[in-house]
């Protein structure tokens, strides 16, 4: 016969019917292991019965009452939680977005300002003579006149107009082709 197993607790508690109880007891008489288990469970049961009744402390009772008073229906609690989640993270995210955008904008402005600094470009003296010749070369509206067109070229070759002659590369007499 196998050991009592789960029937052992039922035997101790008196939950077995008569036939089952007889067969279990017959086994316990011959099985030292099951007899030791039965004895152990009886000992635990007696010790528990010997313990005094425990009374809850006043503080514990008050804490439990507070929990009961603050309790809300489950649906209301869920809705409230969702609403809380909706409001609080939005403000925070908006603030973070504004701060982030501001940082990026400031960075771009700063970069553009630095890059936009007057470049260390080489000094330039406009070749006014060349520009004048190009002006005359482009052609003209029909109602200006060739004499006025010729002026830039003449200026470019004039010693009396050093601002024109210095860079022009054009001689005193010039041949300019009109388109």
């Amino acid at each position: 016969m196998s050991h009592l197993g789960e029937r052992l607790t039922a035997l101790v508690d008196g939950h077995l019917d008569a036939a089952e109880r007889d067969r279990a007891l017959a086994h316990v008489r011959h099985c030292a292991e099951c007899r030791a288990d039965v004895q152990h469970q009886h000992w635990v049961r007696r010790r528990l019965q010997e313990l005094p009744d425990a009374e809850p402390s006043a503080a514990l009772l008050m804490s439990l009452q507070d929990v009961g008073a603050g309790a809300v229906p489950v649906q209301a609690a869920v809705a409230d939680e969702q609403a809380t989640r909706w409001r609080f993270p939005t403000r925070r995210h908006a603030a973070m977005a504004v701060a982030g955008a501001g940082t990026v904008a400031a960075g771009v402005l700063g970069l553009a300002y630095v890059v936009g600094a007057a470049p260390a470009a080489e000094p330039v003296r406009p070749p006014v003579g060349e520009f004048s010749a190009k002006f005359a070369d482009v052609g003209d509206p029909p109602f200006s006149d060739a004499a006025v067109d010729a002026f830039p070229v003449l200026h470019s070759g004039s010693d009396r107009n050093p601002g024109f002659g210095r860079d022009s590369g054009f001689g005193r007499e010039s041949l300019v082709s009109r388109r």
Binding site: L111, A112, Y113, V114, V115, G116, A118, P119, A121, E122, P123, V124, R125, P126, P127, V128, E130, F131, S132, A133, K134, F135, A136, D137, V138, G139, D140, P141, P142, F143, S144, D145, A146, A147, V148, A150, F151, P152, V153, L154, H155, G157, S158, D159, R160, N161, G163, F164, R166, G169, F170, G171, R172, E173, S174, L175, V176, S177, R178, R179
Partner: protein, 353 residues
């Protein structure tokens, strides 16, 4: 070509100014009345005839040309010899130009200076920009002339005298925004000729080479910090090209009456003043200005040097300066510098053509 005695030259110049200026002021006061919204078709036809005559009629004569700026004026005499199929030989005296300085303007195959991609021809530009009507007939250099008045609203902008016999424009007056006479060019002597060939031309000299810029590339140029406003004042963009020698961008404008060339160069303008130029506050900033025929303005903004060349009055120069980047002073403003930086960053991000 005959030579003029200096005393005679001064006398002619003085007499010309005495004759022209009061007459111009008087005529202007008579002509600056109410203008019709529609152009006078016969006035437009006169302008068309004048444009054609400049290419078809041979002539020789002497012109007196004057310009008036805020603080200075210039007057020169020009001997002109024009052969319709060949070109125009001009020889100039006065105005700071060495005596007998000469230039030859060869006749081109095409009459219109505009690039076809950029818009209508000069006469269309003129009639689109201004009101055109006939004025009272008059005489110039002993010849009968029809007068065409060109206005913007109630403001007279220019007046052109057209020879009744040949169709040649005999005289031209241009006024500034305040109504003052700014530029005048008129024949004091004119002979219609049948010359077929001009000999003894000035020697050939190098031409400034350039590459045309396709209009579709303009937005890209602007993004890269090459401002090319499509319009400055009443003048429309008619061409863009890249100069080979100076790497300058040359933007041309016209309203059919005047021309403006704007040259843009990367670099910093030399501190030393340009000879013949005067620092002048114009168009919201200080520019190096030289008023004459043509007039010049030079300034720098954010690492780009701008040079304006125009045969228009100084008012137009101011409009050009105002339309192009200018700092408003010697130091670049914060936003100007930021804008320049954004343009430069864009240029770095976008591969160069």
């Amino acid at each position: 070509m005959k030579r003029h005695h200096p005393a005679a030259l001064v006398l002619v110049t003085t007499v010309g100014l005495l004759l022209f200026a009061p007459a111009a002021a008087s005529a202007r006061s008579q002509g600056a009345g109410d203008w019709d919204d529609s152009d006078d078709t016969r006035a437009v036809a006169l302008l068309g005839r004048a444009a054609a005559a400049l290419d078809q009629v041979s002539y020789s004569g002497t012109r007196i040309i004057s310009s008036w700026g805020p603080d200075s004026s210039t007057t020169v005499l020009v001997d002109v010899e024009h052969v319709a199929s060949q070109g125009t030989l001009v020889r100039m005296r006065g105005g700071g130009v060495a005596d007998d300085t000469a230039a030859f303007l060869a006749a081109g195959e095409g009459d219109s200076p505009q690039r076809p991609d950029f818009g209508p021809d000069s006469l269309q530009l003129l009639t689109a920009s201004y009101d055109v009507r006939r004025g009272a007939p008059s005489r110039v250099a002993g010849r009968s002339a029809q007068v065409v008045e060109i206005a913007q609203g109630a403001t007279l902008v220019a007046r052109i005298w057209v020879d009744e016999q040949s169709g040649l424009p005999l005289r031209r007056e241009m006024f500034d925004a305040a109504g003052r006479l700014a530029i005048e060019s008129a024949f004091i002597d004119l002979r219609i000729t049948d010359t077929a060939f001009l000999a003894h031309l000035p020697p050939s000299s190098p031409r400034a080479q350039s590459d045309q810029v396709d209009p579709v590339a303009l937005p890209m140029l602007r993004e890269r910090g090459w401002p090319c406003p499509p319009q400055v004042g009443s003048l429309r963009m008619v061409g863009v090209e890249r100069m080979e020698s100076s790497s300058a961008l040359h933007v041309s404008y016209s309203d059919g009456l005047s021309r403006v060339s704007v040259f843009e160069q990367r670099g910093a303008l030399l501190d030393e003043p340009l000879a013949g130029f005067t620092p002048t506050r114009l168009g919201g900033t200080v520019v190096q200005l030289r008023v004459g025929m043509p007039s010049y303005a030079v300034w720098e903004d954010a690492g780009t040097v701008y040079t304006v060349v125009t045969d228009a009055p100084v008012d137009t120069v101011a409009e050009v300066v105002a339309s192009y980047p200018h700092s408003g002073g010697s130091e670049s403003g914060f936003w100007t510098r930021v804008a320049g930086g954004v343009g430069r960053l864009s240029a770095w991000v976008t591969p160069l053509v």
